[in-house]
């Protein structure tokens, strides 16, 4: 009952805050509309060269051809002809492309033994080369990453060679906005929890409301849970709004299933827990708010919400692997884009573990009594 009372009160209080509504709700929506306007245009014009080194008897293996077909089927990226072979020099090709007017070479290299490794369930590394000056390079990398994830899942999961046509047909045609949607949702749910809730909890502390409540039967854990649940509801509402806008305006084809909803809820609780932790650990409200910003923004850019983390240097990739947002964004992408229940469940479990840790620390760190 007390958790419900806290939940109702703080939710109402938040919903009536104009600045809170703007930064937590309208700002992400504006961001989505901006991204949507830029990246929802008809795909097909973005070219990608491929060097296929995976030959068998001088002919490209069916699996490597299937991968190329899968990339083409996205209609976002078009593989240009001719496909390069092992005898072509990739370095020379890139230099030639870069030297042409407006040239932004993008080359995907399929290694020799790719099909053999995939069918054995062993890792096989694709190499994607693009120019740092290429504004579309990272996005194409994202498309390749998502397609290869879905592709390897299909093939490795079957433990035998799958017909190429089947692999191709299993990949849905996607727009860029489809790839961005999970990342945007993840990023803004994170900022709402880490920045938004830190500010709100700090304000309650500054106004001594927490001290007043500590003189009632309300417990610290009930207070934390009421706030976390409130933030979770708001986060799910935000996600729903962004998804609906994406579907209505940009005709996104994201998948909404039980994994998507569960991942959204777990993520909302996780980032609210981080917010409560920061507000609890840092006694000065201004410092807590500043720390929330200092943590949220690097995390947003390091966690692969706007681009694949594989395009970052290895030390930043290592940093990304310990950030909860990485798993939340990956989990959302796995459920909303790739329809990959296994990957979504794994990421969700990692997020849930983070959530338990941070909500517990948040409850422990919240100062319920004065010194």
């Amino acid at each position: 009952m007390r958790i419900t009372a806290v939940f109702k009160a703080v939710t109402r209080n938040w919903l009536r805050s104009r600045s809170g509504l703007f930064f937590s709700f309208l700002f992400p929506v504006i961001f989505l509309l901006l991204f949507g306007s830029i990246f929802s245009t008809a795909p097909g014009a973005i070219s990608l060269s491929v060097q296929n080194n995976d030959l068998s008897g001088g002919v490209a293996t069916p699996i490597s051809q299937g991968l190329i077909a899968a990339i083409n089927s996205t209609k976002v990226v078009v593989v240009v002809s001719p496909i390069l072979g092992p005898s072509d020099n990739a370095t020379t090709f890139i230099q030639q492309q870069a030297g042409s007017f407006g040239g932004n070479p993008r080359l995907l290299i399929i290694p020799q033994g790719f099909a053999t490794n995939i069918t054995k369930g062993q890792p096989s590394r694709l190499t994607y080369i693009s120019s740092p000056a290429d504004s579309l390079g990272a996005q194409v990398g994202g498309v390749i990453g998502s397609v290869s994830d879905a592709f390897s899942l299909q093939v490795a999961g079957a433990h035998k060679v799958i017909e190429v046509s089947q692999v191709s047909s299993s990949v849905r045609p996607l727009n860029f906005i489809d790839y961005y949607m999970p990342g945007l949702i993840a990023a803004f749910m994170m900022t709402n929890g880490v920045i938004g809730l830190t500010n709100v909890a700090s304000e309650f502390k500054r106004s001594r409301l927490i001290k007043r409540l500590s003189a009632t039967p309300l417990t610290k854990l009930e207070w934390v849970l009421g706030n976390v649940l409130s933030q979770a509801l708001l986060a799910v509402l935000l996600a729903a709004t962004m998804i609906i806008l994406g579907i209505v305006i940009y005709h996104t084809t994201v998948i909404i299933n039980v994994y998507t909803v569960a991942t959204l809820i777990v993520g909302a609780v996780l980032f609210s827990g981080i917010g409560m932790t920061l507000a609890g650990l840092v006694s000065d409200p201004e410092a807590a708010s500043g720390l929330g910003n200092a943590i949220a923004f690097p995390m947003m850019f390091l966690s692969g919400t706007f681009w694949q983390i594989e395009i970052m240097p290895s030390y930043l990739q290592a940093a990304a692997r310990v950030l909860p947002l990485t798993y939340f964004a990956d989990g959302l992408r796995a459920s909303m884009i790739l329809n990959n229940a296994g990957a979504a469940l794994t990421d969700m479990a990692i997020c849930a573990a983070f959530a338990v840790v941070f909500v517990s620390i948040g409850a422990w760190a919240t100062r319920w009594k004065e010194a």
Binding site: A5, V6, N13, K211, A215, K369
Partner: protein, 309 residues
């Protein structure tokens, strides 16, 4: 004999090398209004917050309504039976008055009727106004409503009228007196002498973390009030200098000159001296007050804002 509502024994609170509360002991009987009177920083709020269970003590024992407040289970049960109005009460700005009181009601399994409570405090017409849009006085009333929402046996009111205009102060006093009439026990902290004197059954004067005196207002005045005084309104330096030639204990309060008197002869001597000096004077007789008690016990006066001077 009935157990007191509150029993405090040798209470100590230290912050590093600073001692905020220095071995305080007192009891509050059920149904009485007990006032802790002292300047800002004397230790009133710290003492009360320890009794409320929102601040730990360094040493000492505190029993409230039969419970040891340092015992976790007892403290939880106790919080259903107490009401608290903290200094500068604040709650959720964007919730209305009624929503805020309902929020506090939601903390208790049993609570008073919120509409009835708003009527009792004469803020029912503000029920739909957001807390952030209220004046200071009305915010304090919402705080009182929140403190009463669980129909508590023991109510803590920490500086309930600080910053309020005289009319609102008097209205708040009436609410407090009505609560006493209903049998509630009230612990009041204040730096207003008149408030303590008017409302409290007993006053504990607290100076630098210690209780300097504790008794009924009348007994305190009798013991420490210094009897009656002759006050020469706006007498200034001329009146002061004139009287100083005849009396050692004459003093200034602003532009007023105050002369403690032992008998009617003192009055005659003083008035004769002032008239012979040719001063136009306005006089009054003043009985000893809590202010005099405080001055005598602490050695300083308090400003309107509660600072020692």
């Amino acid at each position: 004999m009935n157990e007191p509502a509150v029993a405090v024994q040798n209470l100590v609170k230290r912050y590093g090398s600073t001692t905020a509360v220095d071995g305080i002991s007192f009891e509050v009987q059920k149904g009485e209004i007990f006032a802790l009177l002292g300047p800002n920083g004397a230790g009133k709020t710290t003492t009360v917050e320890i009794i409320e269970g929102v601040r730990p003590a360094t040493a000492g024992t505190v029993r409230v309504l039969g419970h040891d407040i340092f015992d976790r289970d007892g403290s939880r049960e106790l919080r259903n039976r107490i009401g608290v109005l903290p200094q500068d009460f604040h709650t959720l700005d964007r919730l209305t008055v009624k929503e805020n009181v309902e929020f506090f009601a939601g903390m208790y399994h049993r609570h008073a009727n919120v509409d009835g409570l708003l009527e009792l405090l004469e803020i029912e017409d503000k029920a739909r106004v957001r807390f952030g849009n209220l004046s200071g006085g009305l915010k304090q009333r919402v705080g009182v409503a929140a403190a009463l929402v669980n129909d508590p046996e023991l109510i803590f009111l920490d500086e309930p009228t600080t910053g309020l205009d005289p009319e609102v102060r008097r209205a708040t006093w009436k609410v407090i007196q009505d609560l006493k009439a209903k049998g509630k026990t009230i612990i009041l902290t204040t730096h207003y002498m008149d408030e303590a004197e008017k409302l409290a059954d007993r006053i504990g004067i607290i100076v630098k973390g210690k209780i300097a005196a504790l008794d009924t207002p009348q007994s305190l005045v009798s013991a420490f009030g210094g009897g009656r005084s002759l006050v020469i309104r706006n007498g200034g330096d001329a009146a002061f200098g004139t009287l100083r030639r005849f009396f050692d204990e004459v003093s200034m309060e602003g532009t007023d000159v105050v002369l403690p008197i032992q008998n009617t002869k003192d009055i005659q001597v003083a008035l004769t001296a002032l008239v012979e000096r040719g001063l136009e004077i306005e006089i009054s007789l003043r009985s000893g007050s809590i202010e005099d008690v405080f001055l005598r016990l602490s050695g300083f006066r308090m400003t309107e804002s509660g600072e020692a001077k």
